[in-house]
């Protein structure tokens, strides 16, 4: 017989967990006591990373999951520890990131009594998680943990919350390992409908102007190669969503750029001209489609997705193929004819050239004036290794970073797409360094987001996590400032921000720091940061009113995309 806490350790070991991001507290103490033996000595099974705030634990677990494709784990206490994880849980839900959050809870006898640090975690987590469950007794641990990991990683991945009352942590149990790979009410991998595949193939074979929209589903299904085969055989240009950026390398000839509100000009405009739209593992987010009433009305729509509820949710489809794209893409490739759409593909080039001249060149190679975000991102992209992982916070830093970074390697991007969580960057980058210790991790943050989970500098310090932090400081909440300038008559309501001395903060945490204020010092500073072994903060003094362009104004059609502000 072992305690429930030790049973949890065995169950996590059974799931192949190696890294746990956590923070102890009253209601999870028995588990932390068991963890003590499992993180050192002959019994060592896990690395436990002590974060500085439970939100950080969830984002770190997300970063870890994104770069590894495995389930990230966060371990926290009840009450505030549990509620602090909710932003991360919601973030993982919207971005289909597999994490398991294990939270302590008061003993079941005290549930409902407003006991100290009691919160109805299952109740509050249900609408924002893939599954939430309370493990009421130690004998449920093996089943519930295995089921949690299966649900988190299978099908369309997502966050699972396990609420673990203290009595179950201390009860004695005979541990029998379980391996759940079936839940009868949950069809993780829908059976491929070959008729639908055939109908999709017919549409593609007849298409004269096909356009593929590639989403994170391709990465989640490990179908990067299957995607390339499909695109290359059919000769179809492909735009990627922000979360799907590394599903197809930046330099692939069929890659026509990023979709969405601040994506590239050509794919956005061409969505309004294509005759067949092939959406692959993407969900037609409003940031991608703009106004749905005018979105791609001329096109037949084929939607490949593993999640049935995404079909016809935002955009009406002509053919839906509900399956894992690892399976549906090869089936489709087998049925399509070898295509040649060179003329159609050529028609993207003048638009891309226009964007290059009007937007990209001025952003990445400005001649004078203060530093711009785009040129900083471009310098890092050029000087960093090809398999570098890009982590971003949320806002202008994210939009510039995702636009101007280069993606050569799969699973190279961690960003908060759906929830748009400021503060995500720093902890997610910590998680990424543990998930991919041999890859460089560059994290772009604004001065707003940097301060939203700034406490995780403590984790970086303690772990010497080699996060290359690029702080793009413009003394503004830049994205909101941009909207205020463009759509709110320049009334800059509470977007200007007084900043601390980041050099002193870096010093306080013992993290190497460098300020870049001049263009001529930029590349040397980037090289110095990249060659420095551990964590690093490079603070760049950025033009205050730099705008991210192009932009589709909110509520407008993708064809209304503007190349310059106010034009």
């Amino acid at each position: 017989m072992i305690t429930g806490s030790e049973a949890l350790m065995r169950a996590l070991q059974n799931e192949g967990v190696e890294t746990i991001f956590g923070y102890p507290g009253g209601s999870i103490m028995p588990v932390y006591d068991a963890l003590y033996d499992y993180t050192r000595g002959p019994q060592k099974a896990f690395d436990h990373i002590l974060v500085r705030h439970e939100q950080g634990a969830t984002h770190a677990a997300e970063g870890y999951a994104r770069v590894t494709g495995r389930v990230g784990v966060a371990l926290v206490t009840s009450g505030p520890g549990a509620t602090n994880t909710l932003t991360g849980v919601a973030d993982a839900m919207l971005d289909s990131t597999p994490i398991v959050v294990i939270a302590g809870q008061v003993p079941i006898g005290a549930l409902g009594t407003d006991a100290f640090q009691e919160v109805d975690l299952v109740g509050v987590a249900q609408p924002i998680s893939k599954w939430s469950y309370q493990i009421r007794h130690a004998e449920d641990i093996a089943w519930a943990v295995s089921r949690a990991f299966y649900i988190a990683r299978s099908g369309r991945p997502g966050p699972v919350v396990l609420d673990f009352p203290k009595n179950a942590q201390t009860e004695m149990v005979v541990f029998k390992p379980r391996h759940v790979d079936f839940v009868r009410s949950y069809v993780a991998y829908p059976e491929l409908d070959h008729d639908a595949v055939a109908r999709a193939a017919t549409l593609i074979n007849q298409a004269r102007k096909p356009l593929a929209l590639v989403g994170q589903g391709v990465e989640l299904g490990n179908a990067q190669e299957e995607l390339r085969h499909f695109l290359e055989k059919a000769d179809i240009p492909a735009g990627r969503t922000m979360l799907g950026l590394s599903a197809l390398p930046s330099n692939h000839p069929l890659n026509v750029g990023m979709l969405g509100m601040h994506g590239n000009y050509a794919p956005n405009l061409k969505e309004q001209e294509c005759d067949v739209l092939i959406a692959i593992g993407m969900r037609f987010s409003d940031r991608v489609t703009g106004n749905l009433k005018t979105y791609a009305r001329q096109a037949k729509v084929i939607h490949l997705d593993i999640d049935r509820s995404e079909i016809d949710k935002n955009v009406r489809t002509d053919v839906a193929v509900v399956a894992d794209c690892k399976e549906s893409l090869p089936a489709l490739t087998a049925l399509i004819q070898k295509g040649d759409h060179s003329e159609w593909r050529q028609s993207f080039l003048p638009l891309a050239e226009l964007e290059r001249q009007k937007v990209i060149e001025p952003a990445i190679h400005p001649a004078n004036g203060p530093l711009l975000m785009g040129e900083v991102v471009n310098a890092v992209a050029e000087l960093s290794p090809d398999d570098t992982i890009l982590v971003t916070d949320v806002g202008q830093n994210q939009l510039f970073a995702t636009r101007y970074f280069k993606y050569h390697h799969q699973r190279s991007i961690c960003t908060s797409g759906g929830l748009g969580t400021m503060g995500y960057g720093m902890p997610a980058a910590i998680g990424a360094t543990f998930g991919a210790p041999n890859r460089t991790v560059c994290c772009f943050m604004g001065d707003g987001g940097f301060q939203m989970c700034i406490e995780e500098l403590g984790t970086i310090m303690e772990q010497q996590a080699p996060v290359k932090m690029i702080l793009l400081n413009n003394h503004y909440l830049g994205n909101v400032r941009q909207w205020q300038d463009m759509f709110w008559q320049r009334r800059k309501s509470f977007t200007r921000m007084m900043n601390p001395c980041y050099e002193l903060i870096a010093q306080g945490y013992g993290i190497p720091y460098q300020a870049v204020t001049e263009r001529r010092c930029l590349r040397d500073a980037v090289s110095k940061m990249l060659s420095s072994p551990g964590p690093y903060i490079m603070e760049c003094a950025i033009l205050e009113d730099d705008d991210v362009m192009p932009m589709t104004p909110p509520g407008m059609s993708v064809s209304d995309m503007m190349l310059e502000p106010g034009v």
Partner: protein
Amino acid sequence: MEEKKLYTLLVYSENIAGILNQITAVFTRRQVNIESLNVSASSIPGVHKYTITAWSDEDQIVKITKQIEKKIDVVKANYFTDDQLFIRESGLYKLSTQDVLNNPEISRTIRRHDASIIEVNPTYSIVMKYGVTDHIISLYRALDEFGCVLQYTRSGRIAVTRGMQEEVSKFLEQREQSTEQSGNGGEI
């Protein structure tokens, strides 16, 4: 805007705590009111059945149904219009016995509506009626005109489909076949 209709959702779930909460949350998120709700054991051991009615247009009810079915422990969710179902509800009407005795028209109304009297005592009488929603409401309106109704309540809807077999049984059979293949017998 599409026309709103009263839809009936039949939802089947595993017997795990908190599912009702998850189902209703799908409605709450879209600010759609649930008109009536009935939860009971189904004909399949261990499976619970929810019968939910709500006013909606078809586009929205399709999305609601898909989001409900997406919940891990929900086995199956389908939506129906009234013509696809056999539907029953029941109504209870508590009347003043004195009024019933004083006005013979009340008893005639009860008979005409095919309702039954299930309790009579010197102060009050209880009338019960099974039927479809409209008939139960119409009896209430008729009785209310006499000013004799002390209390009135109407149950949630129960419904069975007009098909031979419940779709959920077919689904579970298929799932059980696949679990035999994966050697994971008996697991939910």
